[in-house]
Symmetry: C2
């Protein structure tokens, strides 16, 4: 409420600061990064496996997801990205990308030159630490997904995904989980949970019948956060948020 003209990189600052405090100098340095805004249609590729990154894309509006394809051609989605997420920290310091990043909805990304981002990270310790921490939290999220897919049943897998999405969104800034428009098709949900689209459909209907979720079109409401959280076996510790604001824990 103190920055009247919204800056595209505000969300990145908020994301980084949600895991590790930034001082004013850090914030200003980030907002002073040169960037180029780009709009992309849903389904556009932002990073392709094998790419050598030259820019670091930050998601400004919309949603994206990371995925990989097996030799047999099946797809696994390994994370969903929300505004403020840097899409390329994973690739910025590695020679070539080992996975794809694709727009889930129409998105705006701010592209920062790789060298500018890297220089900032290593000249301002506070920013460097924040980037490292953000990277570690992403790794923790991958671990949680491994557990989700490896050791929970289909119902819990889907609920856990919903919980994570709602929780991160509400921690970032607004939207209570009450109304949470997860912009994924049932096929994408299946690829994120290691299930088939048909089974996802059946599970969703079951969850709706039990009152754990409510659906209208593609928009889901989560009427009872506490019950949801329990049914999902969701413990937000792995998100390492400084101020676990968001939904009442």
């Amino acid at each position: 409420m103190t920055r009247p003209p919204p800056h595209p990189l505000d969300a990145l600052v908020a994301q980084l600061a949600s895991h590790r405090p930034l001082d004013d100098g850090d914030r200003e340095a980030i907002l002073a990064l040169p960037y180029r805004l780009r709009s992309l249609e849903a389904q556009s590729y932002i990073v392709r496996e094998g790419d050598r990154a030259e820019t670091c894309a930050v998601l400004v509006t919309g949603f994206a997801f990371r995925h990989k394809v097996t030799g047999e051609g099946t797809r696994q989605i390994m994370s969903v990205n929300i505004p403020g997420d840097a899409l390329d920290f994973q690739n910025l310091f590695l020679a070539e990308s080992d996975h794809n990043v694709q727009a889930l909805t129409r998105v705006q990304v701010a592209e920062v030159a790789q060298h500018a981002m890297e220089a900032l990270a290593f000249s301002r310790g506070g920013v460097g630490r924040a980037i490292l921490v953000s990277t570690l939290v992403e790794a923790a999220t991958f671990r949680e997904w491994t557990m989700n897919i490896g050791r929970r049943d289909s119902r819990q897998r889907i609920l856990h995904l919903l919980c994570e999405f709602a929780y991160r969104l509400s921690a970032q800034g607004g939207a209570l989980p009450e109304n949470c428009a997860l912009p994924m098709t049932q096929e994408q949900l299946a690829d994120a949970t290691g299930l088939t689209p048909v089974h996802v459909n059946r599970v969703l209907k079951g969850l709706e019948a039990d009152g754990l979720i409510a659906r209208e079109r593609r928009i889901m409401r989560l009427p009872d956060w506490k019950r949801l959280r329990e049914a999902a076996d969701f413990n937000p510790r792995y998100l390492h948020l400084l101020a676990p604001g968001g939904p009442p824990s």
Copy 2:
């Protein structure tokens, strides 16, 4: 072959250098870190969920694994660590650990004070970058595991785990995959692949019958790397090794 007295942190240097070159100053600075050697029995906890790390443990000899337990009490193993792996980069910069690290065999760890490791990372850019890269590669490995469990069948899951283990070991230094003593019980294999011990047993027997693996006691031989690699859908790209030495690709 140029360093006559083996230093416990040599393996760490090799691990970091396998992903990103280190100059002589970087190497010396790492080897000059103060550390304390500790021996731990198999099954000992090295990190516990909820811990606040004050030291950074580096695995010197033996093997360890990361895991987490669901609310229902089932366990998911999310990685296997080999000598040279830093076990605490994941926690070093986060307030509290979100998972456990446990010794798989009897191990030796070198404990470095957290502040010493952190100071080094931020005073020598080369070391800082190497730590960041190493962290990113670990994240890439978690993603691969997510795909492994989410989108491959039981046979591929187990083979993929074997491939990764053999490949990383041979890249680190020696042991052709021919003879690869994976020190895991079938129950641990099950927890790493999202299967049950009984099913792991049956799959192993099947793999043996097909000549993809050979077993004697707990020691596995991998007689045909090329066939194994194909059957496992194993592509080492995600390990981001500079010199993909190891098994013939």
